[in-house]
């Protein structure tokens, strides 16, 4: 599982939300210490996604028109949805759907690294949860590409992790929404 015990997520940062009526979009940007080509591979290849993403893909996501099944990982029941890649401009832009969530990724070379930006629509009740979850996923991704993996931390495994509640509350505060009530008291042991 790598150096999980030494991992403390940074405070909430790099997130914006855009509101279009009831439709809210999370925009999360990160500077990764790796080239766009390397990051592209991690975003599109099933064997790489399996190391950091909140879903498994049964096919490569790197070609426009490609379809694959995405399966949630570490959720109480696996949830499978069909996706279709609508844009794949390697190593710059990638778009596909995850169920009813649109996933739009942009990769921009910055020095020897990559500025990675994710746009995804998430309902207001869960947008802070989504930001906290992707925050941790991006940390896991950056360490993975550095060859010092933390181990995938998604779904229930992310929630159990000690830094979760703080991060979730910080994003909720930044977005001006009510503080999260997850996990429920009974689950805190």
């Amino acid at each position: 599982m790598g150096d999980l015990e030494q991992y403390t997520p940074a405070p909430a940062y790099g997130a914006q939300i855009r509101k279009d009526g009831e439709k809210w979009t999370l925009i999360l940007a990160r500077e990764l210490r790796h080239s766009p080509e390397k990051v592209w591979q991690a975003l599109t290849e099933p064997a790489h996604l399996r190391e950091w993403a909140p879903f498994d893909a049964d096919g490569n996501l790197g070609t426009a028109g490609a379809t694959a099944k995405l399966t949630t990982v570490a959720s109480p029941k696996p949830h499978v949805t069909e996706t279709r890649v609508t844009r794949a401009d390697a190593p710059h832009a990638l778009e596909y759907n995850w169920g009813d969530h649109n996933m739009r990724w942009e990769l921009e070379a910055v020095g020897t690294g990559t500025r990675l930006t994710l746009w995804t629509n998430i309902g207001r009740p869960f947008i802070a949860m989504g930001a906290a979850g992707w925050h941790i996923c991006f940390d896991v991704l950056d360490r993975l590409l550095s060859g010092t993996p933390l181990g995938r931390m998604v779904g229930g495994n992310a929630v159990k992790f000690g830094g979760w509640e703080r991060l979730h509350a910080e994003y909720a505060k930044q977005f001006g929404i009510e503080p999260p009530n997850w996990p429920p008291q009974a689950a805190q042991k």
Binding site: P54, P76, G99, H101, G133, A186
Partner: protein, 130 residues
Amino acid sequence: MKIKVTTLHVYDQDKALRFYTETLGFTKKNDFSQGPYRWLTVASPEDPNGVELQLALNNNPAAKAYQQAIFQQNQPAIMFFTDDIKGDYERIKGRGAEFTMPPTDVTGSTIAMLKDTCGNLVQLTQLAKW
């Protein structure tokens, strides 16, 4: 091994949450989302650590076909037990629920049936005291 969670398919999770909490009186227990997936459960305030009812979004064609078929046959998708079916009937009706069967004596119990607003019939049962 214990029976801890049972799943009910609903076509709208927000609407189902309102029905099962505000109309029926259960309490929200778990509400967690991961991408398009939402794990939503309610429990009875009379048994908060008892069996949880998962309100699962019905996006599965097989489950949809089953749900619609049993609804058309007037079959309940789920059954709850109460010690006061007449009182519950009045209270739940007062909150706007649509009953398809008022409390009715049957062998060994009194039952009532109502719509959950999300594609299911719910049966309330009070066992007869012998």
